[in-house]
């Protein structure tokens, strides 16, 4: 391969930096002309967000060349099969719905959703069209010990310890893939503001030149934000959550079951994440500081945690929801929080890093003149993706009928809803989310995801009255029945999450 980009310097060593380094180094490991270095400050603490991944992380880790057993053992990781939402629909009585990682049955043949309406009083949508939610509720693993590494019975991603994950990625990238690791502070950026960056100056390693600079410096956004002064488009008027209060909670019993999905429980002014790792749970309240005080938020979080709340420390993390106007400027591309950050509902942070790193790697300019074109395309693609995430997250709030605070009422007022989401909502009064709502080739959220949320929150009074074309009535019934049968079979055959993780610790996973 011949690229005009020979030297790549990644600035920042959090999960964004090391994921990007690992991916690039793995992709170019046979191309000695491409050199990858990562400079990170020895003084910067990682934020450690993103304890949840999408299933895409499996192929990303495989591509980087990390052994799944190694990953699970070293990163305190567990299996995530989706998100399980509690009390989002109303605050008066318990209610929940699932957004599993498995598409509805028959998704490849036809849209089964309209046929579910007739049964909607007896079975929740996600339960009717997928066996996975029942496995999640039973705390079962997505595979067996006989299932090869990275393969699955039910699709899955991970819950992981972000700090340990960064360490594993770093070890692998440096030792196996030959990434040059420089521990130093970047003190200056050299180059005109309207020109490509020539080099960065470090405190002890002097000047480091590169052809492409990847800004993974997090909130600081050293290159993209500070050097190029790329405008930050704040989104707080749409997604209000600007603060997270996080805690690590030990299991009351070390053999306690490990939840197989991220639990997202709506609160008076935000929601609480609950992520089960092997040795502890990560729990946090994401809320809008203009709607609730830190003290009241902490009180709600303590109430959620229960007795153990007395033993834990709370860490406050500010969130500035939004993203840059551009992500790729001249020879500088921002990945991770340097590019943008939105609250962790639906855990989109790491997948955005994966997608950005893959884009950079696969489209690495081979001709100096291509840099501008690639940058333009990258910016278009990722703008679209950020907007889609915004709309999809907002959907969870807009469809809620909670009326217990201004927070929820404000979330439904028209001026806090983007035009694109408002348009979709208008269409979805009479049409189910379909492929017409997700026109791009590589959409973050397929139509099925929109269906899971829309129908999970039972936003369907008009939809239900639409005439159903009966073409697939019989096949739909068969699929519903098969799903019920499959649930029984899987329940009999799948181990608990904890049990499987123990087996993996003892025996490792098979390669075939």
């Amino acid at each position: 391969m011949n690229t005009s980009v020979k030297k790549i310097l990644i600035v920042g060593g959090g999960s964004a930096g090391w994921l990007t380094a690992g991916l690039l180094a793995a992709d170019y490991r046979f191309d000695k002309s491409v050199q990858i270095s990562l400079v990170e400050s020895p003084n910067v603490k990682h934020i450690g967000v993103g304890e949840g991944t999408w299933p895409s992380m499996r192929s990303t880790l495989q591509r980087i060349g990390i052994d799944e057993t190694d990953f699970i053992v070293k990163c305190n990781a567990s299996f995530k099969q989706g998100s399980w939402f509690h009390n989002w629909s109303s605050s008066s009585q318990p209610n929940h719905y699932h957004h599993p990682f498995t598409a509805p049955v028959a998704a490849a043949e036809f849209d089964i959703a309209p046929y579910w309406f007739a049964h909607s009083e007896n079975v929740e949508f996600a339960h009717a069209v997928s066996a996975q939610p029942a496995m999640i509720e039973a705390g079962l693993a997505p595979k067996q010990i006989t299932t090869p590494a990275y393969a699955f019975v039910n699709n899955y991603g991970y819950h992981l310890d972000a700090g340990k994950f960064v360490h594993l990625l770093q070890q692998h990238a440096v030792k196996q893939l030959g990434v040059t690791h420089i521990l130093d502070d970047v003190v200056a950026v050299q180059g005109e503001k309207n020109q490509p960056i020539r080099s960065v100056e470090t405190a002890r390693h002097g000047v480091i030149e590169a052809d492409l600079f990847i800004d993974c410096s997090g909130f600081a956004s050293l290159l993209l934000g500070q050097h190029y002064a790329t405008k930050f488009i704040e989104q707080r008027h749409i997604l209000f959550n600007d603060t997270a209060l996080a805690a690590q909670v030990d299991y009351a019993d070390p053999d306690a079951e490990i939840a197989s999905a991220t639990l997202a429980t709506a609160q008076s002014n935000g929601w609480i994440w609950d992520i089960g790792l092997q040795s502890r749970r990560g729990i946090g309240y994401v809320y809008s500081s203009s709607h609730i005080s830190d003290e009241d938020a902490e009180r709600e979080l303590r109430h959620y945690i229960g007795q153990q709340a007395n033993e834990v420390e709370f860490r406050k993390i500010p969130i500035r929801p939004g993203y840059r106007e551009k992500f790729w400027v001249h020879n500088c591309v921002g990945i991770g929080m340097a590019a943008g950050f939105i609250e962790p509902l639906e855990a989109s942070a790491l997948v955005m890093v994966e997608l950005a790193a893959k884009f950079v790697s696969e489209q690495l300019p081979r001709d100096p003149f291509h840099m501008t074109i690639t940058a333009k395309r990258f910016n278009q693609t990722f703008h679209y993706r950020w907007q889609r995430i915004m709309d999809f997250l907002k959907l969870h709030y807009v469809l809620s009928e909670r009326n217990d605070s201004d927070y929820w009422r404000d979330n439904r007022s028209r001026e806090t809803i983007s035009d694109s989401l408002a348009e979709m909502l208008e269409v979805w009064r009479t049409h189910l989310p379909s492929r017409y709502d997700v026109p791009m080739a590589e959409e973050l959220f397929p139509a099925a995801s929109f269906q899971y949320v829309l129908l999970g929150l039972r936003h369907m009074s008009e939809l239900k009255r639409q005439p159903v074309k009966q073409n697939n009535q019989q096949r739909a019934m068969q699929h519903f029945q098969q799903t019920a049968v499959r649930k029984q079979q899987l329940k009999a055959g799948l181990p608990g999450n904890r049990a499987l993780l123990k087996q993996i610790h003892s025996h490792g996973m098979q390669t075939i």
Binding site: T146, T147, H507
Partner: protein, 234 residues
């Protein structure tokens, strides 16, 4: 369930073991563990493939007797219709236990083989009867075989020689059956191995067992024909 006891010539003095072969005695098994040094005898009668242990996921070689759970097509009314019975079957109801790092013989007291009929285990004054001597030998061989399996499987996995396979069988009555959950050796990968890898296989003594596994695939036809014969009977 099994009640495992360490065999001794006091409490088990008068025990006898029924060595006949039948479903009632627990011989109705679909497959059983094997090991490279047994392949030569086993491949003359049975397909030898790999299977995964349900508790550990580890691969180990097995000899196949049938196409579904509890089906042993070699069991006839009064005997096991093959010239060789794999050691892991023949050893029943005995197994190896560990006591103070020494290997000892254990017996499953719940086995239907145990009773007043069959082969005595001990001589009048407590010495081992010939049958027990034979069983001890089998257990010893089996123990070394299981040890041998780990290196064999690890090496084959390292060389990416193991692949899963699905066997589709159509019987004479038109019924279709599928054999899933077993693994075999990928011949193309084997043929494409580098010289150094071949040298490793040769040094470790794996070349013979590999080809015996491949040759044993011919015995699938034997299984199918036995299954078809059962159709004619019913």
């Amino acid at each position: 369930m099994a009640t495992i006891e360490r065999l001794n010539n006091v409490s088990h003095k008068d025990l006898k073991v029924n060595t006949q072969r039948s479903a009632q005695l627990g011989d109705n098994v679909m497959f059983s563990l094997s090991f490279p040094s047994e392949f030569r005898s086993a491949q003359a009668y049975y397909p030898i493939v790999f299977h995964k242990d349900a508790d550990t996921g580890q691969l180990y070689p097995v000899v196949l007797f049938g196409f579904q759970q509890q089906e042993n097509l070699f069991l006839t009314d009064d005997k096991w219709d093959a010239g060789y019975i794999p050691l892991n079957v023949a050893r029943q109801p005995f197994s190896i236990g560990l006591q103070d790092q020494q290997r000892v013989v254990n017996i499953d007291m719940d086995s239907p083989r145990i009773g007043n009929e069959g082969e005595p285990l001990f001589l009048e004054f407590g010495g081992h009867a010939p049958y027990l001597e034979k069983v001890s030998g089998m257990l010893e061989t089996l123990h070394h075989g299981v040890e041998e399996n780990k290196g064999f499987v690890d090496c084959l996995l390292e060389f990416k020689l193991v692949e899963s396979f699905t066997l589709d069988v159509t019987l004479n009555d038109g019924s279709q059956h599928q054999l899933l959950g077993f693994y075999t050796i990928n011949e193309d990968t084997l043929n494409g191995l580098a010289d150094a890898q071949w040298a490793t296989l040769r040094t470790k003594g794996y070349v013979g067992p590999i080809y015996m596994m491949l040759a044993s695939q011919a015995k699938f036809a034997e299984l199918v024909s036995r299954k078809n014969k059962l159709l004619n009977l019913s």
